[in-house]
């Protein structure tokens, strides 16, 4: 519903607010799926920070979407084809909460049985993220760092160039 409203709206302010509502809905879905950590991240990042950033960008531009220059048939076709392929891909996944699914038989039993004893951390998600998969988390932090550095480099250079020109 929210997605359809986002597509139909031409006023960008309502689109941003609808994005926030959509993020909160997704967060509740994730909490209902018992993924509390992910739900919390979605609520904080998706509904909180990115909403503020969108509003900041809106302040820089106008509030109304322009009329499209082309008919959006090709993008629609690409999006539909990708969606159909993704749905087809999910058909190959094991059934939801199937205890015999391959990922649940590889390292997950070890994390769940030995994790609290080896790390002394009751929350398995924290134990996996920070300890067993510490290297991956380091990579994630480096990605965030790189993104920040990229934004700094781009926005600052644009301002300095403008100053020199003007």
């Amino acid at each position: 519903m929210a997605t359809l409203a986002i597509i139909a709206q031409r006023n960008l302010f309502s689109v941003v607010i609808l994005f926030g509502i959509y993020s909160f809905l997704m967060a509740t879905v994730l909490v209902a799926l018992d993924a509390v950590d992910v739900g919390m991240t979605e609520a904080a990042v998706g509904a909180g920070i990115s909403l503020v950033l969108f509003l900041g960008v809106l302040h820089l531009t106008t509030g109304e979407e322009m009329k499209p220059l082309h008919r959006p048939l090709l993008p629609l076709a690409v999006a539909l084809a990708t969606g159909i392929m993704l749905v087809y891909g999910t058909l190959g996944l094991p059934a939801f909460s199937d205890p015999n699914a391959p990922p649940h038989r590889h390292v997950v039993p070890r994390y769940i049985h030995d994790g609290p004893r080896e790390t002394g951390v009751p929350n398995v998600v924290t134990a996996v993220l920070a300890s067993y998969r510490g290297f991956d988390t380091l990579g994630e932090v480096v990605v965030v760092f790189t993104g920040g550095v990229g934004v700094i480099a781009l926005l600052r250079r644009g301002r300095r160039g403008k100053k020199e020109a003007g």
């Binding site: 904080a44 009751p122 993220l129 934004v151």
Partner: protein, 144 residues
Amino acid sequence: MKDYLVLRVIAKMIIAFMLMFALYVQFHADFGPGGGFQAGVIAAASIIFYAIIYGLPAARRVVPDWLVETMVAAGVMLFALVGVAGMLLGGNYLDYFVLHSDPVEGQHRGIFWVELGVLITVSGVMLKIFYLFAGRASGEDAEP
């Protein structure tokens, strides 16, 4: 929004609790949901809230630009140095068991410092992005 008295008073009250909640999410991550990513975003959100209510220059006085930029790099450094500390103490890279004589205690220490690094970098990056965009909007110079 500097002229709205109710907003100013309420913001002053709420920001303390937001920072408190960020610290709770950070240090309680061992037992409940949360961790460095979420806590960093919440901490950055409280500063952004302050900037929206009291204006960007006021927020820049509280958390200056050089501090934000240092945070962006310092978090990654801290995370990587925890790994190096594990190596110096005779373990593998990012091996927490050697950080303390008791392996479980060592894990606790490792996770604590690593999550702190995540918190610092994430809140720094979020704040920096907000500062840059908001600085453009209000037309003031981002250069310190």
